[in-house]
């Protein structure tokens, strides 16, 4: 059975093993940095927080039968984690000449920190072979189940960065036309720094002035606000969840930032808490089910045999996955 639970230090090596091909740049790639991140994530689950820093969560997808770790998903309670969270805001200026009776809209990219301190979904990685299964939805939406169960830790809006267009030979058109000139490094390097270092180097190296879109290369203009084709399943899932691309794009690859009002996320609207009861059937509609606070948070897929006003009947195997027993409160949400 696949289930999502908070990452522990024991998961360090398995997470590093997930593979090279993952899409997330927000997960550290070195052992030490990842260890620190896991420790911080674990500490964040403590209801009474000792440190002043914003909570950052990291979950793993675990096969309870084999112990295999097949994916990760994260939530930063405050984008930027106390530092500015950088994006470009797409907007336009109007250049007008009264005498020549001409008025033109000029597309601009303004450096912005407006999304700083909003809740951010991040660090999503999943083994290739599971990408087209229900497990994909489990891993992604488990975060929304967690948010629903710990709503006070999160802000009224939630955002998620979608990877932007990358060419087959590795070139990133948006980066090559813009960021490369100022950061003097290739996209991979900058992307890694961004994941590992404080974002100060962005403030230091990014030009403070807005950028004229028309001066970007054609390929960069075409890539602006476009998701990487490989992210399509993720993009679609987030859209079903209620996320929409707005006017913000990533400063490195120009990929879209999707935004949603946290309280109107599908999982938060459709999920309900019920009392756990047993069922002998292994059939029924597959639902997300989660339980537990903080370090005890678990989320799985389960067939739901029957749900009454305040009760839900699920197979006892699901109880074990949740580490809960009859009468305990659980949260369910349809797929």
């Amino acid at each position: 059975m696949w289930r999502v639970r908070p990452a522990k230090l024991d998961d360090l090596q398995p997470i590093l093993n997930i593979g090279e091909n993952r899409l997330s740049s927000t997960l550290p790639k070195t052992r030490d940095a990842l260890a620190r991140k896991i420790e911080q994530a674990w500490a964040s689950l403590n209801p009474v927080q000792t440190s002043q820093s914003p909570r950052r969560f990291l979950f793993v997808l675990e096969n309870t039968d084999t112990g295999e770790i097949a994916g990760t998903a994260g939530i930063d309670s405050r984008a930027g984690n106390g530092q500015p969270f950088y994006n470009y805001r797409r907007d336009h200026l109007v250049h007008a000449s009264h005498e020549l009776n001409i008025s033109r809209r000029v597309e601009m990219l303004f450096p912005s920190h407006a999304l700083t301190d909003l809740t951010l979904l991040c660090s999503f990685t999943l083994k290739q072979e599971l990408r087209n299964t229900e497990v994909f939805e489990l891993l992604s939406r488990a975060r929304m189940m967690f948010i629903a169960g710990h709503r006070e830790w999160f802000t009224s809006r939630t955002v998620v960065e979608i990877q932007g267009v990358q060419q087959e030979h590795g070139g990133v058109p948006f980066w090559d036309s813009l960021g490369r000139h100022f950061f003097n490094m290739d996209f991979e390097t900058a992307d890694q720094y961004s994941g590992q270092l404080s974002k100060t180097f962005i403030a230091e190296l990014m030009p403070p002035n807005p950028v004229y879109v028309t001066l970007l290369s054609d390929a960069a203009q075409a890539a602006l606000g476009q998701p990487h084709p490989l992210t399509a399943p993720n993009y679609d899932l987030l859209q079903r969840e209620g996320f929409l691309p707005g006017c913000y794009v990533d400063i490195f690859d120009g990929g879209p930032v999707m935004e949603a009002r946290t309280d109107t996320l599908k999982t938060l609207v459709t999920s309900q808490t019920k009392a756990l009861h047993g069922s002998h059937q292994e059939e029924g509609d597959t639902c997300l089910i989660s339980a537990g606070e903080g370090v005890e948070f678990r989320c799985l897929l389960t067939p739901v045999a029957e749900t009454l006003a305040d009760d839900v009947k699920v197979p006892v195997g699901t109880w074990r996955g949740l580490e809960k027993t009859a009468g305990d409160r659980v949260r369910i949400s349809p797929l």
Binding site: L93, H95, A96, S97, H98, E99, L100, I102, R104, V106, M108, S177, L178, H181, F182, F183, N184, M185, Y193, L197, T200, F201, E204, L205, M206, P207, N209, P210, V211, Y212, T214, L215, L216
Partner: protein
């Protein structure tokens, strides 16, 4: 004999003929009779001080007295940017550095600037093809520095000239094609023409106001920023010899450089000296080469006249002028004139020792 004098009403036909021949590229002197007439009117008002000093446009004609024809024009715009807004790009550098990453990047940047506002511009130089050479171009250009020198209070401390930037034979400017045209659907030649007709500031309103980072422009556009058109190279060399330097400003359309100098540092100004006229009855040495000639001005504001004479005419205190030369620049014996070598590197004969 060739003489510099204020532009007059009856110069219209000659000017128009010159402008027609010059074709595209000389935006300050378009082949448009009405516009040329307006320029003449403005010049006449300026020399007669019927307009505000800061609105003055002094235009000088180079007249071939023997042919009775105007063969060149040059000008001084007393103050730019007071009526309309005067734009340049300033070629700047933006430095971004991260000590943490050991990265230090210098990005050349164009910043829109109005900094030449209220400054004196030398402009509108045009010399007929058949009069090129023999120092006529020098006379036409440098006579202006003698005027600036004698009437400094009407001008700014610094003066500048906009040099024509690079464009190809069909009138395409690489900078315009990669920058201006992205903000304004117009061919460079058309923009340039409108600019010459006085609509430059209107076009500028449509140009980008935020800094342009050069690495985002294509190579061919970057290559022409601060570079002059091949045809303008001699003019640039001449101004450099006078002490003009590139001041970091470029034209917003074609990227041509702006060069500037403090009036008091201009070679013509530094080297000019006063002499008394002595009208003599022997003729001048015929056709001394340009490097042995001097410009001589009558120091008159309303009827400013300059011609060139062999340096052999110049003594320690006086200058010997044949009657016809004195007539041409409207001076008599005893009048004070100002003389300066036509070419740099020349030195007035018997220069009085300074100091010691």
């Amino acid at each position: 004999m060739l003489v510099i004098r204020p532009l007059q009403n009856d110069d219209l036909d000659d000017l128009y003929a010159m402008a027609q021949k010059a074709g595209k590229g000389l935006t300050t002197l378009p082949a448009d009779r009405e516009l040329l007439q307006r320029k003449i009117d403005r010049a006449r008002e300026s020399f007669s001080q019927r307009c505000a000093p800061e609105a003055a446009l002094y235009l000088f004609a180079l007249e071939d007295l023997d042919a009775g024809k105007t063969v060149g024009i040059s000008g001084i715009d007393a103050r730019v940017g007071l009526d309309e807004v005067f734009y340049n790009y300033r070629l700047s550098v933006t430095v971004n550095a991260s000590r943490e990453l050991g990265v230090h990047v210098r990005t050349p940047t164009l910043n829109l600037s109005n900094d030449m506002t209220d400054t004196t511009e030398i402009c509108s130089l045009l010399l007929s093809d058949e009069y090129q050479g023999g120092g006529n171009g020098l006379l036409l250009s440098r006579c202006r520095f003698m005027f600036l020198d004698d009437f400094r209070k009407w001008f700014s401390e610094k003066v500048f000239a906009e040099m024509r930037g690079v464009s190809d034979t069909s009138g395409h400017s690489p900078l315009w094609d990669s920058l201006g045209s992205k903000f304004f659907d117009m061919e460079f030649s058309q923009a340039d023409r409108l600019s010459g007709l006085g609509n430059k500031s209107f076009i500028a309103e449509l140009m980008p106001k935020y800094p342009i980072y050069l690495p985002m422009l294509p190579d061919e556009a970057r290559a022409v920023i601060g570079r002059v058109h091949d045809n303008t190279r001699p003019a640039l060399k001449m101004l450099q010899a006078e002490g003009f330097n590139f001041n970091g400003m470029v034209d917003i359309f074609d990227g041509g450089p702006v060069v500037e100098a403090f009036v008091h540092n201009i070679r013509t100004v530094r080297e000019a000296e006063n002499r008394q006229v002595l009208v003599v009855d022997h003729a001048m040495a015929p056709d001394a080469p340009p490097d042995q000639r001097a410009m001589i001005s009558n120091r008159s504001f309303r009827d400013f006249r300059v011609t060139t004479i062999p340096m052999t005419c110049i003594g320690p205190d006086t200058v010997n002028l044949p009657g016809e030369v004195a007539d041409a620049i409207r001076v008599e014996s005893g009048d004070q004139v100002r003389v300066v070598p036509l070419k740099d590197g020349g030195l007035l004969p018997v220069a009085p020792l300074k100091g010691v």
